[in-house]
């Protein structure tokens, strides 16, 4: 577990390094989420003062975008595509299987902290629907069986 002071230093370092880019806020938020896995609510004040914005403006941006999160994710984030192309290939049944296998709903994290489940609206893998991404790894033509295989392979590795 990272100590709050270390988190704050990380946030300040990222914000300071990127603050002079035109339109720096999104690059800063990405930098923080890439490093910490999420954007801690207590970092809003530091980001705001670095960019000379109000805290409300920073919070408004974080909360606008689906990708940014203010809670720590599980070790692995499963993104399951729910858009039309994947629906045409049975993603709704797959989603039910994924939820019951992991024992969580969308936007939740398993009790052991291994997996978070997020919906995604298109991974651009529509010729190989249904699609999912686990961490940075993309999978196509996902079936309940192949989902189980991926999850157990990852689960065994942690």
């Amino acid at each position: 577990m990272t100590e709050p002071s270390t988190t704050q230093l990380t946030v300040q370092k990222i914000a300071t390094a990127l603050k002079d880019k035109p339109g720096a806020l999104l690059p800063i938020l990405h930098g923080i989420q890439d490093t910490l896995g999420y954007i801690p609510p207590e970092s809003v004040a530091d980001i705001a003062s670095t960019l000379n914005l109000s805290r409300a403006e920073v919070h408004g941006v974080i909360s606008f975008y689906h990708y940014f999160r203010d809670t720590a994710p599980g070790k692995h984030t499963v993104q399951l595509c729910l858009a039309e192309s994947c629906q045409a290939m049975g993603s709704k049944k797959l989603a039910a299987h994924v939820k019951s296998t992991l024992g969580i709903d969308f936007h939740e994290t398993t009790a052991d902290g291994k997996f978070s489940l997020e919906p995604v609206y298109c991974l651009g893998n529509c010729a190989c629907s249904p699609a999912m991404q686990v961490g940075k790894d993309i999978y196509g033509r996902v079936s309940p069986q192949s989902f189980d295989d991926v999850i157990s392979a990852i689960g065994a590795g942690v």
Binding site: S85, Q87, G124, A127, C128
Partner: protein
């Protein structure tokens, strides 16, 4: 002399196991002391055959697919590195009917080259468009694009040359080129393929755009769901920079153009151009009122060309071969080619680039081979989540902007999502409203409130509640969204909803 073997690095190929296949080929080649050079090329776009392994022979490239890592030993046993016969043999890649019949202009190199090799790019006609552009006046570059008849491939189909001309003539010290790479429509992946499989063509197109209108800075606003594209673009940008194709003295011309990739954060609305500009400025992606047009007052209030990936990636071939060359493809007011994407429940999903003017039916059956499930195709959605659903009776519609407009449908970004006869069209209509509610930026009331009310009304209809009251109510609500929304999200969500209702009333419990 080592043998060149190709295994795609395209993320769809990877999603089907291409990385494992590549690793297995390297390992088996070492075990058998066969000297191979493994190239991670782009994908040819025939995804039913991915991972598609190719081997260079005296006759040309010979393809095998779909290959799994477990097939690799047998491929070596069959002497595939010499083009040997195997159950997965597909013959010469160029002779595969799906690929041979295509007219690839924008996708000319995709699947053939190593995407991040500048040498490959140059030896396959790369940067010839830029070389020509550097010899022309700014107005003449714009004229070539105007003459080509190229219309924005992102969905709105606005003539690209006219947009450029506005920016060229707009006063301003600082101008920008922004590439809209927030390809969020379900069923579309042509932008992703260009960026992963031929990133230099987008870089070249943006560089030409910058020189044409006098912009020195470009941004590619890329959706964060595309990590492979992000990596490929950054690698290619670094190489272009090192070789003097980007920077402050492009190929000794004295012209400057810098390029940076910026990541979105999962908001569909940021594919709308003004919302995208807000996001690039570091704000919530709220749609702007127009006018002013981005061409006059765009990024940071400066004149800005904002074009889709495919539009910009088509510019190099236009500047290489001339506006007339490109214009000679297509029909009516739809000139050139459209990279069509076959997706969803389709046997041979993939990328099909053809001149405008063939029918939807030819695409679905001659190229797509019918549904993946083997059941009858009942509906297709063309143009993403805001596109209309088309029933079988409309499959003879020609693929061109005007023919689609005539049946109250849109071509959009050229994505076609196929559904078989198990689809519940009332549920698809409900989903369209739900998606609009999730993705609405909230600035205008019809979209923000109307989408939620729309979902509720459709749920009531699906439950069989007061159809005589609720169906007209849904139509009335759609009318409000169509006419009262600020942008296409609210303004076009009625396309899928009403087309589902009109063409498939039985799914809504409407009889007679």
């Amino acid at each position: 002399m080592s043998i060149t073997v190709y295994v795609p690095r395209d993320s769809s190929a990877i999603s089907l196991g291409a990385d494992r296949v590549a690793a297995a080929i390297i390992q088996k080649a070492q075990q058998r002391s066969i000297d191979i050079k493994l190239v991670r090329n782009g994908s040819r776009g025939l995804f039913s055959m991915e991972p598609l392994v190719e081997v260079e022979t005296a006759q040309g490239r010979i393809a095998y697919g779909p290959v799994q890592a477990s097939d690799v030993a047998a491929l070596f046993d069959a002497n595939f590195t010499q083009g040997g016969e195997h159950a997965l043999s597909l013959g010469l890649t160029e002779e595969i009917a799906y690929l041979k019949k295509q007219e690839r202009l924008t996708f000319a190199r995709v699947g053939i080259t190593d995407p991040v090799s500048l040498e490959d790019y140059l030896s396959h006609d790369g940067y010839r468009g830029l070389a020509n552009a550097l010899k022309l006046s700014q107005a003449d570059i714009v004229k070539q694009v105007t003459d080509s008849g190229l219309r924005g491939r992102g969905g709105a189909a606005f003539p690209t040359g006219i947009k450029w001309n506005t920016v060229l003539n707009a006063p301003g010290e600082q101008k920008y080129i922004v590439c809209n790479a927030d390809e969020g429509d379900s069923g579309t992946f042509s932008d992703r393929m260009v960026m992963e499989d031929d990133p230099f063509v987008l870089i070249e197109g943006m560089t030409i755009a910058g020189i044409a209108v006098g912009a020195t800075q470009g941004y590619i606003y890329l959706r964060c769901e595309y990590p492979h594209a992000y990596q490929a673009l950054n690698e290619a940008i670094a190489k272009a920079h090192a070789a003097g194709y980007l920077g402050d003295n492009i190929q000794g011309s004295g012209k400057t153009f810098e390029l940076e990739v910026r990541l979105g954060a999962g908001a569909y609305i940021c594919g709308e151009e003004t919302s995208l500009l807000e996001s690039l400025e570091g704000k919530r992606g709220l749609v702007r009122f127009k006018p002013p047009l981005p061409a006059i007052s765009g990024l940071f209030g400066k004149p800005t060309v904002i074009n889709n990936v495919i539009s910009l990636a088509t510019v190099p071939i236009i500047l290489d071969k001339g506006g007339e060359f490109y214009r000679n493809f297509g029909m009516g007011r739809s000139r050139g080619t459209l990279p069509i994407q076959l997706a969803g429940n389709i046997k041979h999903g993939g990328l099909v680039e053809l001149a405008f003017g063939l029918t939807l039916r030819e695409l679905l059956y001659d190229y797509g081979g019918g549904s993946a499930s083997g059941r009858p195709i009942r509906a297709v959605q063309v143009g993403g989540p805001l596109g209309a659903y088309l029933p079988e009776s409309q499959f003879d519609t020609l693929v061109d902007y005007e023919s689609f407009a005539a049946i109250w449908a849109v071509l959009g970004h050229g994505g076609i999502v196929v559904f078989d006869d198990t689809v519940d069209m009332a549920e698809m209509a409900r989903y369209s409203m739900e998606f609009c509610a999730i993705e609405s930026c909230g600035k205008c009331t019809p979209c923000r409130i109307g989408s939620t009310r729309g979902r509720e009304v459709i749920e009531d209809i699906m439950a069989g509640k007061e159809l005589a009251k609720n169906v007209p109510l849904l139509r009335d609500l759609c009318n409000t969204l169509l006419n009262g929304s600020l942008c296409a999200l609210g303004g076009m969500t009625p396309y899928p909803v009403l087309s589902a209702l009109n063409h498939f009333p039985e799914d809504f419990g409407i009889t007679g």
